[in-house]
């Protein structure tokens, strides 16, 4: 065990791998060449169609102990990973690691295959029941939670060698060109899959919509695709949208959104060349709506909007408020529809978006970003991974990447959620280090990190309800009472990897 710089106990190794404890967001330097894979030469010019999933698995040479990946652009509507694992099981293949770009609640179907030994580890974060069961000690399957940028990094450096990537290809030809823009399972941007297409040792395009050659525009090209497989259905794009992607009407949410917009206005960045990222939560969308009004009023011509893209961002692009949208994943069907139509709505790879180990990712160019939080501590550290019972329920997404990149990262959250104080002495799990978090906005007040003194002074000058974060915590505790820390066993069930690959925290089994 070693203490990392945030005081978290990090074991020396996990699932056979040596760990580097987190020290700070900036200084860890890569010492690696870009990962390599064998160069292939395809000697025929005919179809790469091999049949269905089973034939594709056989053709790919997948064996016991290997690592596979899929992308999560269909989010909770994805059917491919579940179908794939069923076929892997039917072929008698065991001890498979999953290094997908994310796992959603729909993938609870994998649980029996974990118990059976078909799947023996996740080299990616998970949303939902798998993490909960692992946290309770009812499922034995090591999990390494990675941010979007960190996950891209781990493939590019070769730290996680993906043996076979099975990539859902909503619009695909028989020679392997594909995009995500059209077809019954259109999901829009394939930003996450791009990394796998470039780095997995074998690449299978899996489609439910085979079109005559060539499938254009080409998102992922024939030159990196080994095989094409056909399935009846990749998933349900209607489930891309989570239930929360609507502007909030809750008065607390609207108050928070108002304060967050005030923070951005006070930052001085909302002027020509402004760049912005926001999430899909009801509050985030309300903030975006406020920013839109400020930009209109000031006749501001922004630079770019970034991240998971929603219809609201598309409206801002089409209204001329931004020059471009950089889209790593489409968060709703209006975004899907736009990316196939708008030239300035650009597909961005996860590496270009957020990988810390390159010559500069897009998050570095962000002025302001809106982020969510399950818990925040008095040192501005944020938890988005574990919930009130201590269970691992959420993936990191781009949280720590965006926080590190943006000049002002703004966490918006109600001060209390069902008795749980959001600002507290210590967070259960550290997802994002406080050093990279600029402002915490709640309906009870705004806490500004000491590393943004000018913003703090400007907010005070504008009579914003700026409070010391300890004061904010005390006011909240006065309503909720002081929570008892959750009790954990010693057993580490998951790692929370920081974007640079160091270990910022671990998740331990919850004491029953």
């Amino acid at each position: 065990m070693a203490l990392n710089s945030l005081g978290r106990q990090i074991p020396e190794s996990f699932a056979g791998k040596k760990l580097v404890p987190y020290s700070d967001p900036w200084s860890l330097q890569p010492h690696a060449e870009r990962s390599t894979r064998a160069i292939r030469r395809l000697s025929h010019n005919g179809s790469k169609l091999v049949g269905g999933l089973r034939e594709a698995i056989i053709a790919s040479g997948l064996k016991d102990g290997m690592t596979i990946s899929t992308h999560h652009s269909l989010r909770n509507g994805d059917q491919l990973l579940n179908d794939l694992v069923k076929e892997i099981d039917a072929l008698g293949i065991r001890d498979i690691k999953i290094a997908s770009t994310s796992i959603h609640i729909v993938h609870a179907e994998l649980i029996p295959y974990i118990r059976k030994g078909v799947i023996t580890g996740f080299e990616c974060g998970v949303n939902g029941p798998i993490g909960e069961l692992v946290s309770k000690g009812e499922l034995d399957c090591p999990i390494v939670v990675r941010s979007h940028g960190g996950r891209a990094r781990s493939l590019i450096t070769g730290e996680i060698p993906v043996d076979v990537a099975f990539l859902a290809a909503p619009y695909c030809d028989e020679y392997g060109n594909f995009n995500g823009y059209y077809g019954p399972s259109a999901c829009g941007s394939l930003g996450y899959a791009q990394v796998d297409a470039q780095h997995a040792h074998k690449v299978v395009a899996v489609t439910d919509n085979l079109v005559p050659f060539p499938a254009v525009p080409v998102g992922i090209p024939q030159s990196v695709v080994d095989f094409v497989a056909q399935v009846p259905k990749l998933g349900d794009p209607k489930k891309i949208v989570s239930t929360t992607t609507r502007i909030t009407t809750d008065p607390i949410g609207l108050q928070i959104a108002k304060y967050a917009a005030l923070v951005m206005e006070s930052s001085g960045y909302v002027k020509d060349g402004f760049s912005f990222q926001t999430g899909t939560g009801g509050i985030s969308l309300a903030v975006a709506e406020n920013v839109r009004a400020i930009m209109r009023k000031g006749k501001v011509k922004g630079s770019f909007g970034c991240g998971g893209i929603t219809g609201n961002f598309v409206d801002m692009l089409e209204e001329g408020l931004f020059e471009a949208l950089f889209d790593v994943q489409c968060f709703d069907l209006r975004a899907v529809e736009s990316i196939g139509r708008n030239q300035k709505h650009v597909e961005m790879t996860a590496g270009t978006y957020a990988n810390p180990f390159n010559c500069g990712s897009v998050v570095n160019r962000l002025d302001c970003a809106i982020l969510s939080a399950t818990e925040v501590d008095v040192n501005f550290n944020v938890n988005v991974n574990t919930e009130s019972m201590g269970y691992l329920l959420h993936n990191t997404g781009g949280h720590c990447d965006v926080a590190a990149g943006a000049k002002v990262s703004i966490v918006v959250a109600p001060s209390i959620r069902g008795r749980l104080p959001i600002v507290r002495d210590a967070v259960t799990t550290i997802t994002t280090p406080g050093e990279t978090v600029g402002v915490i906005v709640t309906e009870r007040g705004i806490a500004v990190n000491d590393n943004l003194p000018e913003l703090k002074a400007e907010l005070i000058r504008r009579h914003a309800p700026v409070k010391d974060i300890h004061q904010l915590r005390d006011e909240i505790y006065a309503v909720t009472g002081v929570p008892k820390p959750i009790e954990f066993e010693d057993k580490v069930v998951a790692l929370i990897e920081y974007r640079d690959g160091s270990i910022i925290d671990v998740v331990r089994q919850v004491r029953a």
Binding site: S388, M389, G390, I416, R417, G418, R419, L420, V479, T480, G481, P483, K484, P485, I486, E487, V510
Partner: protein
């Protein structure tokens, strides 16, 4: 104050709780809560305080809590006790 029959108050919405009180020989408190791991001690203390205030020394008190604050716990429990004929 005595619990003469079953009484119930509350909802199972977020930030609320459902309280059910029934006659029993001893005082039994059963807590189910979405925030149990962090707040069971405070929920129990609040329930005991309200029961003591009304002199209730026996009965089965079950709550299904969705993160209610203390004032809601107090109001729901008092209403359930009234409905149980004890007040």
């Amino acid at each position: 104050m005595k619990i003469c029959k079953k009484g119930q108050a509350g909802t199972v919405q977020s930030s609320d709780l459902m309280v059910t009180v029934e006659p029993a020989d001893a005082l039994i408190i059963e807590i189910e809560s979405t925030v149990k791991k962090q707040f069971e001690h405070l929920i129990r203390a609040k329930l005991e305080q309200v029961l003591a205030k009304h002199g209730t020394v026996s009965g089965r008190i079950s709550i299904s809590d969705r993160g209610a604050l203390d004032y809601a716990i107090e109001a729901r429990l008092e209403t359930a006790l009234q409905r149980a004929g004890g007040m």
